[in-house]
């Protein structure tokens, strides 16, 4: 995009700055729109599985429901509890929201269509997603209330635990792709399965990792069945209990932006990203961004489906799954994958 601005007669430095800002807006604004629609989709899917109608009043088929909700919270009063730690109480939702947007900088939407094409893209995503926990911890502590605090403790332990296994799973992908750059990872998947399927997930060595990543992604975003941080039967509404108005809406937006990010990571790391599913020339006529969106929406459907059907885990079972099942298996898998690559690729 920088070249376009330079060709319009702009100074290269300014062109770079303007191009970056345009890129940020091009990602952030559609993302917010997507979040609004995905909340609607989530409620519709959930309702359909429970044989209900879901939102169907505002706009055609209830399509404008999320916007009505957004407008409602926007008009409400922001209530700050008197005993809350004012500064941190207000910063916490801002951190959650900002961090949820930051990670999108390295997601490739098409060949070369990426805001920051850095060679440590995957590490950047790990680094940013590890920041997400601060919004939750701080809101729980700053609320100065019992249930939000319990929720914050649960959330921090849960996110740290699953980040460990996610890290190891990602190393398996990096070993196969031979790069930390997200675009390179997508390109490495071209014809990976039997020379025709564009997906790491088709590889028998990587498929278990793909499944573990999907489950870890559910835990990392605190979605059902791992939504213990918001377990309404035990903790009211978890860390968001004391929040109202826009500060609540920021949590809401950040949470769904994170869910979308995890769906995108599933698509990009294991199922070919912007590549068509089959390595067949006519399929490349469809723009890569459409394939990527189709994959993201599929994984979002899986997330909603799980939310509607699977009962909530107990906390000790959650910890057991993270530390005693996923961590040893993903460690073992790194040995298997590196051994396999040593024998086949590097010998």
């Amino acid at each position: 995009m920088t070249e376009t601005f330079i060709s319009w007669g702009m100074d290269p430095n300014w062109a770079w700055g303007v191009a970056t800002i345009c890129g940020i807006l091009l990602i952030a604004l559609p993302l917010m729109l997507a979040v609004a629609m995905i909340i609607y989709a989530d409620r519709k899917i959930w309702a359909a599985i429970a044989l209900r109608r879901g939102p169907n009043v505002v706009g055609p088929f209830g399509l404008l429901q999320s916007f009505a909700d957004g407008l409602k919270v926007f008009l409400q009063e922001t209530i700050i509890p008197t005993s809350a730690n004012r500064g941190l109480f207000l910063i916490a939702p801002i951190i959650t929201f900002t961090v949820a947007l930051l990670a999108w900088a390295v997601i490739p939407f098409n060949s070369g269509a990426v805001l920051a094409d850095i060679n440590v893209g995957l590490l950047y995503i790990l680094a940013i997603s590890s920041l997400g926990v601060y919004g939750v911890i701080l809101s729980g502590w700053a609320s100065n209330s019992k249930y939000p605090f319990f929720s914050a403790m649960r959330a921090s332990a849960q996110m740290i635990s699953y980040e460990v296994s996610i890290g190891f799973i990602l190393i398996g992908v990096v070993l196969f792709a031979d790069s930390f750059n997200m675009n390179e990872i997508v390109k490495a998947q071209q014809g990976h399965g039997l020379g025709i399927v564009n997906a790491f997930g088709f590889n028998l060595l990587l498929f278990p990792l793909a499944v573990m990543f999907l489950i870890s992604a559910l835990a990392e975003t605190a979605r059902a069945p791992f939504d213990l941080t918001e377990a309404e039967s035990e903790l009211v509404a978890g860390y968001q209990t004391e929040y109202s108005s826009m500060s609540f809406a920021l949590f809401w937006l950040g949470e769904y932006a994170n869910v979308l990010l995890m769906c995108t990571l599933n698509a990009v790391l294991f199922w070919g990203g912007w590549l068509p599913p089959i390595d067949w020339a006519p399929l490349y006529a469809v723009p890569g961004i459409i394939w990527l969106f189709a994959k993201i929406l599929f994984f979002f459907f899986v997330f909603s489906w799980v939310k509607a059907t699977v009962p909530r885990y107990r906390y000790d079972q959650l910890m057991r799954l993270g530390w005693k099942v996923f961590l040893p298996i993903s460690l073992l898998w790194i040995f298997l994958i590196s051994g396999y690559l040593m024998l086949t690729r590097y010998s």
Partner: protein, 203 residues
């Protein structure tokens, strides 16, 4: 130009937030300032062209170490009056530590400006088109492999030590055997019987 602005921005924030770590009255605020300092230090690493170190700094320190700090500090029951009370009592000890640190700094700067000591043949900076993940990896797994493995063993010992110190066996606790539960089939647990009237049944 933009590098210079970024450097001064990051450096100023690192120093200011490091000072705020000490000056903040509330320990939780201290940890938050510490996180800000870590984050901007990562920014400085990025400017130095060490993007791998920068990301590791954020993942390890901000993502794990500081979260555990915050976890512990949040659960402290802080009495602010008591915090301030010990100032005079700890002043001599604090002053001693400050003097030692200052002397150390002066010596280090003096030794450095005098030319430093060539302790061992250092690995020359590799100038190539490889990314610094590859460069670090190549050095770490060839030249420094024994040091690297020794560091790993030290960490393993520390981990086992921590587990041994905190692990305790409690009696009278019923734990869940997940694989046994998963192996259980309906026929193991249920029984269909048709007792006659007035005969009752044996459980």
């Amino acid at each position: 130009m933009i590098q210079l602005i970024a450097f001064y921005l990051f450096a100023t924030i690192v120093i200011a937030s490091a000072a705020m770590v000490i000056f903040a009255r509330n320990p939780v605020h201290s940890v938050m300032w510490l996180i800000l300092a870590f984050f901007n230090a990562a920014g400085l690493m990025l400017l130095a062209g060490a993007e791998f170190i920068a990301m590791l700094l954020v993942i390890v320190y901000v993502g794990a170490v500081a979260v555990l700090f915050l976890f512990v500090v949040m659960m402290l029951d802080i009495d602010f009056a008591e915090l301030r009370a010990g100032f005079v009592r700890y002043l001599p000890l604090g002053a001693l530590v400050a003097i030692i640190l200052a002397a150390g700094l002066v010596f280090a700067v003096g030794a450095w400006s005098a030319g430093g000591v060539d302790l061992a043949a250092r690995a020359a900076p590799v100038v190539s088109d490889k990314s610094n993940i590859q460069q670090i990896g190549e050095l770490l797994y060839t030249k420094y492999i024994f040091l690297f493995e020794a560091a790993g063993i030290v960490l393993l010992v520390a981990m086992i030590g921590a587990i041994v110190l905190t692990h305790r066996q409690r009696g009278g606790v019923r734990t869940q055997n997940i694989s046994a539960q998963n192996r259980r089939r309906p026929e193991d647990a249920t029984r269909l019987v048709d007792p006659g009237v007035g005969q009752g049944m044996k459980l």
